[in-house]
Subunit: 460 residues, 2 copies
């Protein structure tokens, strides 16, 4: 299906080389180019520099290609280019979006009064969840955040959002944009499984409750670093005691809740006030495809700006654009619907399981190997590890991981990523597409081991 570029995941060219290739494409001229010449330019100058996400050697990030069902919906969405926020712009698009949202609420086990809205990305979904939480908090204090702003709180400096140390940086963006500032984020340590440490939170709570005004707690279901799933049910109890909003950032992890064998880890998620999900991750539907779910659909009214003739409060037709700020959004629901209908849920679950199995098998195999430190027990499709060659000086281990990472990036035949867990630099493997196997990841690790030997001779 993919076009392998001489065995690489992309051409391997450096920025300056790519710039030379693309120059002709962005050289906007008075006269147009014939279609054939333009197609040639795109195929020869751009496509080699795109990453082929469906290769078994791409196991670094959350990107994937649309399968056949998703491509069907994507092609129709492209051709008709429907904007779907308002009935008048696309009656069919609007209805499909609303009905898809309801069908997904049911699929994921949310209560009947729940609802969802399509968002542009997990970052904006998380941002909106924080805003809705703050808006509700303001309402409890008797004022309208939308009109008065943060000034309406008696002591805005007390406002706090509790997140885990491994929460996604989009929450920092959220706190910034919302005018709260990062100082609002209170970080809870993680445990050995890289989950929000409940004991630590419990210990922090009494002091925190005195000093701060916790209006929101965020649980991450599938952290970016390790794919770990934070506890949810205990946080629901804590939030209910605090009167705080529980948001679950399940941008990556949410679909795993459809697997019976992982159900327990997600226990309670349908009781969260809001949940973020990015189908454009392992579902491979065209970017953008994100959703924000709300246990109580009416909470979305916090976002609405009604007009006198457009988006009227008493319109009988649905206007899903009232549930989030954008006045234009594409027909994102369609490729998601066509992939779910084309594959069927049975095959969807199979496709979700395959990378999980690969990562689990890899993790178990590597645990017994002395030159690898497996950094966590994988909950989902991500594994972080360190190369620890025998006799290698501990103080140089971080530099070793970075060296190997940079070399692999340079070679452009495989793709891995890096992150930091506590005080350690680690290599990170993400299995997203079913073409990524234990074998393909093992080859990468063997290659990393070989590269590590070059560090020794180079650097010492």
């Amino acid at each position: 299906m993919t076009d392998r570029t001489d065995g690489g995941i992309y051409s391997g060219a450096a920025p300056a080389e790519i710039a030379v290739d693309l120059l002709e494409l962005v050289n906007f001229q008075e006269q147009g180019l014939p279609m054939e010449a333009l197609t040639g330019l795109v195929q020869e100058r751009l496509v080699p520099h795109l990453v082929k996400y469906d290769l078994p050697e791409f196991h670094s990030l959350y990107n994937f290609l649309p399968e056949k069902g998703a491509l069907l919906g994507g092609a129709v969405a492209l051709r008709y280019n429907q904007g779907v926020t308002n009935w008048q712009v696309s009656p069919g698009g609007v209805m499909l979006e609303e009905m898809c949202a309801q069908a997904l609420c049911q699929l994921f086990g949310f209560p009947p009064e729940s609802d969802a809205t399509f968002m542009y990305c997990g970052t904006y979904a998380n941002q909106q969840a924080l805003y809705m939480a703050l808006h509700r908090h303001a309402q409890k204090q008797g004022f309208d955040l939308a009109q008065e702003g943060i000034q309406g709180f008696q002591d805005p400096e007390r406002l706090a959002i509790v997140v885990s140390q491994d929460a996604h940086f989009s929450l920092k963006h959220g706190a910034r944009i919302l005018g709260l500032g990062e100082r609002t984020l209170v970080s809870v340590p993680v445990n050995a499984e890289r989950c929000l440490d409940l004991g630590a939170l419990q210990a922090m709570l009494p002091g925190l409750r005195e000093e701060r005004d916790i209006f929101c707690v965020v649980s991450t279901a599938g952290t970016t670093s390790t794919g770990s799933i934070d506890p949810i049910l205990p946080l629901i109890e804590i939030c209910s005691e605090l009167g705080a909003w529980l948001h679950v950032d399940a941008a990556y992890g949410f679909p795993f809740s459809l697997l019976p064998e992982l159900e327990d880890r997600f226990a309670g998620i349908e009781q969260a006030d809001s949940v973020t999900w990015d189908p454009h991750k392992q579902f491979g539907v065209p970017i953008p495809s994100s959703l924000l779910f709300a246990k109580h659909g009416v909470e979305f009214e916090r976002m609405a700006i009604y007009g006198e003739y457009f988006n009227r409060r008493d319109d009988t037709e649905p206007n899903p654009g009232l549930k989030s700020p954008p006045s234009t959004r594409p027909l994102t629901a369609l490729p998601l619907v066509t992939t779910l209908r084309y594959l069927g849920l049975e095959k969807v679950r199979e496709r979700l399981r395959s990378p999980l199995r690969a990562v689990r098998a890899l993790s178990e195999r590597l645990r017994n190997e002395p030159d690898i430190e497996v950094c966590h027990t994988p909950h989902t499709g991500i594994l972080c590890l360190r190369l620890t060659p025998e006799g290698f000086p501990v103080e140089e281990l971080d530099a070793l991981q970075l060296f190997v990472y940079e070399r692999i990036k340079q070679e452009a035949r495989r793709s891995i990523s890096m992150t930091r867990l506590g005080d350690k630099a680690v290599l990170r493997l993400v299995a997203l597409s079913p073409s990524v196997t234990e074998g393909s990841m093992l080859e990468t690790i063997d290659h990393a081991r070989a590269l590590a030997k070059e560090f020794k001779t180079d650097a010492r």
Copy 2:
């Protein structure tokens, strides 16, 4: 090219009827559907309910279909599904986006130090411009908005954003999300051309400067209601005196600055601190396609969250995702590039001119007709008017426009919109695609006149 649905712009079905048609599509089952059956479902159950934006009778909103060049880029973007915020995810995509941004800065006459970033929609672009303005304002007062939040200001209640009465409601969304609240927005009346009234602003300024702390002024280049272009150059002078940020919301109007005959209206736009543009409007490129320009590219650093291993401050490769919150965005630059290269600038300008000419001609013709009130001199491709049949009671004129609008909507053979100008309800025609002509709009108006007669007999 389009599939006309029995002469209508869409099927004309009501929500409940569409729901029946779509039910099978969102009925997520264990087993998948064969491709042929699924394609049939989409074609028969959904497509008739989509609006065909390229019909001459669609003249209500900012939607349009991709032409051949845009479709080429759209198809490649769909197939490879590149995420483009970070070099590692898509070297080719990232380079194309950055080079396209630079080429556009040059095309629109921004200074060499300018830069742009692709955004998801005009609403988020406007929101980000306001955030950047506020962040700079905070910096001048000696603190970091990203860390401290609005609390860092000595008297946050004084903060003000000056907008015109006709500014887009996305600015309300922006003020809400930013934690400022709508109270921050100070509205300036419009003049007879529905532009921000400079005289009124000058009269307001002395008092306003005493009471409030104006950190941003917004000029709209192409208002949603009438397509009017606010003054820009005089606002640049005012902003420079105030030390305020000038943002131009040119989501709709920006490309008209490429027409020599309209250059004067846009004088100074390249000196604005930031400009919003939505190519998915009259350029018809696939939604989403929006851009935020900044006169000083370094201003985008206000958005950046650097990591230790991902999006490092000292990365030698470009990471355009540092310029806005989303960590995933599609390869939006590609369809824009392919449409500009396929058509060439000469044809682009022709396509821009055609609806402008149609609206101007229509406006001139209608001015002489006694049963129509033309509500403004059109600057661009939008015309607002009122049906004023001879002898019709003035107090019922609003009801008449609404009646006609609702009837046209119900018939689904044409598409117009409604808005309110001052204390009057008006009908609104938007010419976006070159297939909309003076004749096609005139037919709609003649039909509206005929419908108006039914109001008389029905209601009185």
